[in-house]
C-alpha cells in the first residue's frame, strides 16, 4: 500500500462521486436525441442535485430511524464499491476487500434497506415498490451469479483486479462463453439499475413504479443522496461490465502518469456504453411486471449457455 495507490484510490472515489451524474446526464441526452426531443444538457443532473440539496426535508409522522438512515447507507455502499471496482487503475488498496460476489452483495445491502424504507411509511405505493423490487432482485441473482461464474471460469478468479490482469496477459480471442456472459450481463444490468424494459426511471404513474415507488416519500437532501446513489449504481455496474469484459485501457500497477490516458479511454468507453444502453432502452418498451421473469430467464439461459460452452467447446 504505497502513497501512489492511496492517491489513486482517492482519485477514483472522487471520480465516481463526481462523474456519475454526468454519465446519467449523457444517457438522458442520448435518449432525448433518439426520441427527437430537445435536451437540457449533460450537466442537468448536477443542477437537479443542487436544487434538491437546497430543499427542505419533509418526513411522514411515523418515519422511523431506518427511513432517515437509509439514504446515507445507500450513498456509503455506493462509494465503497466505487473504491473497489478498477475503473482507472488496478492498483487500489481496497480491491482486496471484496471480489465480484462481495460487490454484488454490497449492492444487495443497499437494496435491502431501500426496500425497508419503502415499507417504513406504510403506504401502498412503498410496499408495492418494495415487493416488486425484491421479486426482480431474486430472479436477477441466479443470472448474475451464473454470469460471474462464467467470467471466473475463464479468468480463474473472482477478484476484479486479478480478472483485469488475466485478460491483459492472454491474447485477445473470440470467446463464445464470454460473449454469452456479456449479453446476459447487459440484461442483468438493465434489471438491477431499473432501466427500461424492466422499470421506467422517468415514470410518474405510481402503479408502474418499482424503484421510484420505494423512494416516493423522500424529499430534500435525502432524495438527493438517493438519486445520486442510483446514478452511481448505473456508473458502477457499467464499470463492472467494462472491467470484466473489456478492460483494456485500465492502468496497471504503480505509476500516476498512466492515469490521464486511462481516464480518456474510460470516458470513451462510457460513451459507448451509454449508447448501447440507450439503444436498448429506446428500442424496447417497458414490459409488464410478469414478463420480467421471462426477461431474466433469458439472461439466466444465456449465462448458462456461456458456462456450458466454456466446458463443451474446449
Amino acid at each position: 500500500m504505497t502513497i501512489n495507490s492511496l492517491i489513486i484510490e482517492a482519485l477514483q472515489i472522487i471520480l465516481v462521486i463526481g462523474l456519475a451524474p454526468a454519465f446519467a446526464g449523457w444517457v438522458r441526452t442520448l435518449k432525448c436525441w433518439f426520441q427527437g426531443r430537445s435536451t437540457p444538457g449533460i450537466f442537468q443532473p448536477y443542477r437537479d442535485l443542487r436544487k434538491l440539496f437546497s430543499k427542505e426535508v419533509v418526513l411522514a409522522h411515523n418515519a422511523s430511524w431506518i427511513f432517515r438512515f437509509t439514504p446515507y447507507l445507500l450513498f456509503g455502499t455506493a462509494v465503497l464499491v466505487g473504491g473497489i471496482i478498477p475503473i482507472i487503475s488496478v492498483d487500489l488498496p481496497l480491491a482486496a476487500t471484496a471480489d465480484v460476489i462481495v460487490v454484488v452483495f454490497i449492492f444487495a445491502i443497499a437494496r435491502f434497506f431501500l426496500a425497508l424504507a419503502g415499507m417504513d411509511i406504510g403506504t401502498a405505493f412503498g410496499g408495492m415498490g418494495s415487493s416488486r423490487e425484491m421479486m426482480i432482485a431474486s430472479l436477477a441473482e441466479p443470472a448474475m451469479l451464473m454470469a460471474i461464474f462464467t467470467v471466473s471460469l475463464v479468468n480463474k478468479s473472482t477478484s476484479l483486479a486479478e480478472i483485469v490482469q488475466v485478460i491483459y496477459n492472454t491474447p485477445p480471442e473470440l470467446n463464445p462463453s464470454l460473449a454469452f456472459a456479456f449479453v446476459a450481463f447487459i440484461l442483468i444490468l438493465l434489471a438491477e439499475t431499473g432501466r427500461v424494459p424492466v422499470d421506467n426511471p422517468a415514470t410518474h404513474l405510481e402503479l408502474t413504479m418499482i424503484h421510484e415507488g420505494m423512494i416516493l416519500e423522500y424529499s430534500g437532501r435525502h432524495l438527493a443522496l438517493i438519486e445520486w446513489t442510483s446514478m452511481m449504481k448505473l456508473y458502477l455496474f457499467t464499470s463492472l461490465a467494462i472491467a470484466a469484459f473489456a478492460p483494456w485501457g485500465i492502468a496497471t500497477k504503480g505509476s500516476l502518469d498512466a492515469l490521464p490516458l486511462a481516464f480518456g479511454i474510460m470516458i470513451a468507453k462510457l460513451g459507448v456504453a451509454g449508447l448501447i444502453i440507450v439503444l436498448i432502452e429506446t428500442g424496447l418498451a417497458k414490459m409488464r411486471l410478469f414478463r420480467v421473469p421471462e426477461f431474466l430467464g433469458t439472461a439466466f439461459l444465456l449465462a448458462t449457455l456461456g458456462m456450458l460452452s466454456f466446458f463443451m467447446l474446449d
Binding site: D99, F105, A137, E217, T304
Partner: protein, 680 residues
C-alpha cells in the same frame, strides 16, 4: 479432580440434570424457580462452551467410560474437536437463550405453571450435549431419545390448543421413524464391527470395521434418512413448521438453532468419521437434498404470514445450505481433492454456528414480539419499531445476517460456499462440472429469496402502521431478554468481521477428517483478509467492509445531515385519497404476491375473491372476501399415502385379533412347532 474438558462437559450435563431435578421442588415459588433454573442453565451452558472451545483450540481428544447403562454395555463418551465444536454451538446459544428465558418465561406467570417448562428445558439441553458426547450406539440413542422426549413435552407446553397437540404428535412420530432408521444403521455397522463378544456397538469398533460397500451404502442411507428426518430436510420436513411455532419461543430458538444441528453432527460423525471411505455419489445425494431443501424451504417461508412458521421454514432452508457444504465436501473427498473438501466442510460448519446464532436471535425476537403483543400473525402487527426499538434493532441484525448481507456472519459462510462451487471445475467427472454450477445458481436464488422474505418479515412486523384491529399495547421487553438478544447479535457481527480467527480455530476439524487445512491459505494475506484458496483467486475483508461503510456513513452524515429541528413532519403521500387507513398498507400476503405468482406452481394454491356488491351500484363492492390457501403438495403425495397405508396395514394386522382364546392358543402352538422345526 482433573480438569479435562470432558469432565467439565459431563459436569455441565450434571448441572442441567440437577436443575431439572430441583425445579419441581421449587414449584411453589414460580419466580425463584425461573430465576434459579435458568441461571443454573446459563452457568452449565457456559461450562459446555468452555470445554468445547478448549478442545478445538488444542485439538484434544478425551474419552471416558461410565458404568451407567446396561450391565455389559457401559456408556462411552468422547470429546474430540468435532464434538467440541458442536458443544460450543449448543452451549453458546443455550447460554444466550437461558438468559433470555429468565425474562421470557416470566411472561407465563399467572397464566400457567412453568415447572414443566423449566424441567424439560434443562433435560432437553442435557440430551443434546449427551448426543454430541456419545461414543457408542447405545449412549447415542438414549441421549437422542432424551432430546426428542424432552422437546416433545416442551412442544406440548400449551396443550390446550388442538393444533399444538397435533404438532407434537406429528413431531414425535417423525422423530421416532428417524430414530428407527438410525438404530438400524447402527445395527448394520455394529454387526460388522463385532468380534466374538458384542462390542461392535462402540463407535471405535465401527470405525475399524471393514464394512462391504453395499452394507455401508445401506447404513449411510438409513442414517441419512434418520438424521434428515430430525433435521427437517425436504421431504421429511412437515413436522418443523408445526412443532417450532407451537413451542414457547425460547424453546423454538433452541430447537431451530441447535437441535437441528445435532442431526448435522450425526451425519458428519457417521459419514466423515465412522464410514470414512465413500463413493462420490453419496455426496451428490446429500448435495441434491440440500439444494432442494434450500429452494423449497425459502419458497414455503415466503408464503407464510405467521412469523414463527416463517422462521421455521427458514430453518429448513438453512439446513439445506449446511448440507450443500457437507455434500460438496463429500464429493471433493471422493475425488481426492482435500483442499477443496476442507473448504466445503468449513463452509458447512461455519454456517452451522452462524445459523444457530441468527436463527436463535430471530426466534428470540419473535418471542419478544409475541410476549409484548400476544400476536404471532404478522398481518395484525406493524409499527413496532417505535414501541420496541431494541428488539427491532436486534431483529434487523438477524434479518441482515440470514439474508447473507455483509458484514454479518451469514454472508461469510455463503461466500465460502460460492467459492467452493467455483472451484468445482477441478473435478474430473465431466457431467458433475456441468451440473454443479446450476446448483450454485440455485443457492443464489435462495439467498435472494431469503432477503425478500426478511424484508417482508421485518417490514410488516416492525414498520408501517399497526394493522391490528385492537389497540397496540406493545412495550419494550425487559433487560434479560434484551441482553440475550444483544449477545446473540454481537456474536453475529463478530463472526462476520473476524472470519480468519474463526477459521483458524475450527480448521483442526477439517484436518482430522479431510487431511487438509485452509487456515494457512485463508489468513495468508493477513488476519483481516479472508483468502480461502489464494489471494489472486478471491479475497474478502469483512472488517474493512464494515469500517468502510461506517466511515463513509459518518462522513456523509457529518457533512450533510439535517438537524432534527430543520425537519418538518407531515402526512404521508396519499395521492389525494383522504381516507387512507392502516389496512391499506402492504401486508405479508400482498408482499409475497409477485413471488407467489411466479413460483406458485410448486404449491397447491387456491385463491378466491368474492364480492358482495353495494345495493346502490353494481360496480362498487360493499364487502370483499379474499380467500388464500397455500398447501404443501408433499402432504398429498407423500404423507397422506404413507399415513393411509399405515392405517390399512394396521387394520389388516388387526384382523389377527379375533378375540377368541382358541385363536391365540393356536398362534402359540404354531409358533412353538415352527421354532422346534427350525431350531432342530
Amino acid at each position: 479432580m482433573n480438569y479435562d474438558p470432558i469432565t467439565i462437559a459431563l459436569l455441565s450435563i450434571l448441572i442441567f440434570l440437577g436443575a431439572a431435578l430441583i425445579a419441581p421442588l421449587l414449584r411453589r415459588s414460580q419466580t425463584s424457580l425461573i430465576n434459579i433454573s435458568f441461571i443454573l442453565a446459563s452457568i452449565a451452558s457456559f461450562m459446555a462452551v468452555a470445554a468445547g472451545y478448549f478442545t478445538v483450540e488444542n485439538a484434544v481428544v478425551n474419552t471416558m467410560i461410565l458404568p451407567i447403562g446396561l450391565p455389559d454395555l457401559p456408556f462411552h463418551f468422547r470429546l474430540d474437536p468435532l464434538a467440541g465444536f458442536f458443544l460450543v454451538v449448543v452451549g453458546l446459544l443455550s447460554f444466550f437463550v437461558s438468559i433470555y428465558s429468565i425474562g421470557y418465561v416470566k411472561g407465563y406467570l399467572g397464566n400457567r405453571s412453568v415447572t414443566s417448562l423449566a424441567v424439560f428445558y434443562c433435560l432437553f439441553i442435557a440430551g443434546m450435549l449427551l448426543v454430541v458426547l456419545a461414543d457408542d450406539a447405545l449412549c447415542f440413542l438414549v441421549s437422542w431419545e432424551i432430546m426428542a422426549g424432552a422437546s416433545y413435552f416442551l412442544v406440548m407446553f400449551e396443550n390446550e390448543r388442538a393444533e399444538n397437540r397435533r404438532a407434537a404428535l406429528l413431531y414425535l412420530i417423525i422423530a421416532h421413524v428417524g430414530a428407527i432408521a438410525i438404530l438400524l444403521a447402527f445395527g448394520i455397522m455394529a454387526g460388522f464391527g463385532s468380534g466374538s463378544v458384542f462390542d461392535g456397538y462402540t463407535f471405535d469398533a465401527m470405525r475399524k470395521a471393514d464394512i462391504p460397500v453395499e452394507w455401508a451404502t445401506a447404513a449411510f442411507f438409513l442414517s441419512f434418512f434418520g438424521f434428515a428426518a430430525k433435521a427437517g430436510v425436504i421431504p421429511l420436513h412437515a413436522w418443523l413448521p408445526e412443532a417450532h411455532p407451537a413451542a414457547p419461543s425460547n424453546v423454538s430458538a433452541l430447537m431451530s438453532g441447535v437441535m437441528l444441528k445435532t442431526a448435522i453432527y450425526g451425519i458428519i460423525r457417521i459419514t466423515f468419521d465412522i464410514i470414512h471411505v465413500f463413493p462420490w455419489w453419496w455426496g451428490a445425494i446429500v448435495l441434491t437434498f440440500g439444494l432442494i431443501s434450500t429452494v423449497m424451504g425459502v419458497l414455503y417461508a415466503l408464503m407464510q404470514h405467521d412469523l414463527k412458521k416463517l422462521l421455521a421454514y427458514h430453518s429448513v432452508e438453512n439446513i439445506g445450505i449446511i448440507l450443500i457444504g457437507v455434500g460438496l465436501s463429500m464429493v471433493f473427498i471422493a475425488f481426492k481433492l482435500p483442499l477443496l473438501a476442507a473448504l466445503g466442510l468449513i463452509a458447512g460448519l461455519y454456517h452451522t454456528i452462524n445459523h444457530a446464532m441468527f436463527k436463535g436471535l430471530l426466534f428470540m425476537g419473535a418471542g419478544a414480539v409475541l410476549h409484548a403483543t400476544g400476536e404471532r400473525n404478522m398481518e395484525e402487527m406493524g409499527g413496532l419499531i417505535h414501541k420496541m426499538p431494541w428488539t427491532a434493532a436486534m431483529f434487523l441484525v438477524a434479518c441482515m445476517s440470514i439474508s447473507a448481507l455483509p458484514p454479518f456472519n451469514g454472508f461469510v459462510s455463503e461466500w465460502l460456499m460460492f467459492q467452493a462451487f467455483l472451484l468445482s471445475p477441478a473435478l474430473p467427472n465431466q457431467i458433475l462440472i456441468l451440473l454443479i454450477p446450476l446448483g450454485a445458481s440455485l443457492l443464489a436464488l435462495s439467498g435472494a429469496l431469503a432477503a425478500a422474505c426478511f424484508v417482508k418479515a421485518f417490514g410488516v412486523t416492525f414498520l408501517g402502521h399497526w394493522r391490528g384491529h385492537h389497540k397496540c399495547r406493545a412495550h419494550e421487553v425487559d433487560w434479560s431478554m434484551r441482553s440475550g438478544m444483544l449477545m446473540a447479535g454481537g456474536s453475529c457481527l463478530l463472526l462476520g468481521i473476524l472470519p480468519t480467527i474463526f477459521i483458524d480455530w475450527v480448521d483442526i476439524i477439517a484436518e482430522h477428517f479431510v487431511g487438509s487445512t485452509i487456515s494457512l491459505s485463508a489468513s495468508q494475506y493477513g488476519w483481516m483478509w479472508l483468502t480461502p484458496v489464494s489471494y489472486e483467486r478471491a479475497s474478502y475483508s469483512g472488517i474493512t467492509v464494515f469500517i468502510g461503510i461506517l466511515v463513509v456513513l459518518a462522513v456523509t452524515y457529518a457533512l450533510l445531515h439535517v438537524s432534527p429541528g430543520m425537519i418538518r413532519r407531515s402526512h404521508i403521500w396519499d395521492c389525494g385519497f383522504k381516507k387512507i387507513n392502516s389496512r391499506m398498507q402492504y401486508n405479508a400476503t400482498s408482499f409475497a404476491q409477485p413471488i407467489r405468482r411466479i413460483f406458485g406452481f410448486l404449491f397447491n394454491i387456491i385463491e378466491r375473491t368474492e364480492q358482495a356488491p353495494h345495493a346502490g351500484h353494481q360496480a362498487f363492492p360493499k364487502k370483499l372476501h379474499y380467500y388464500l390457501s397455500v398447501r404443501d403438495r408433499l402432504w398429498k403425495w407423500l404423507y397422506k399415502p404413507f399415513v393411509d397405508s399405515s392405517f390399512w396395514i394396521s387394520k389388516q394386522a388387526g384382523k389377527l385379533q379375533q378375540g377368541h382364546i382358541q385363536t391365540y392358543l393356536i398362534y402359540s402352538f404354531i409358533t412353538l412347532i415352527a421354532l422346534l422345526v427350525f431350531l432342530r
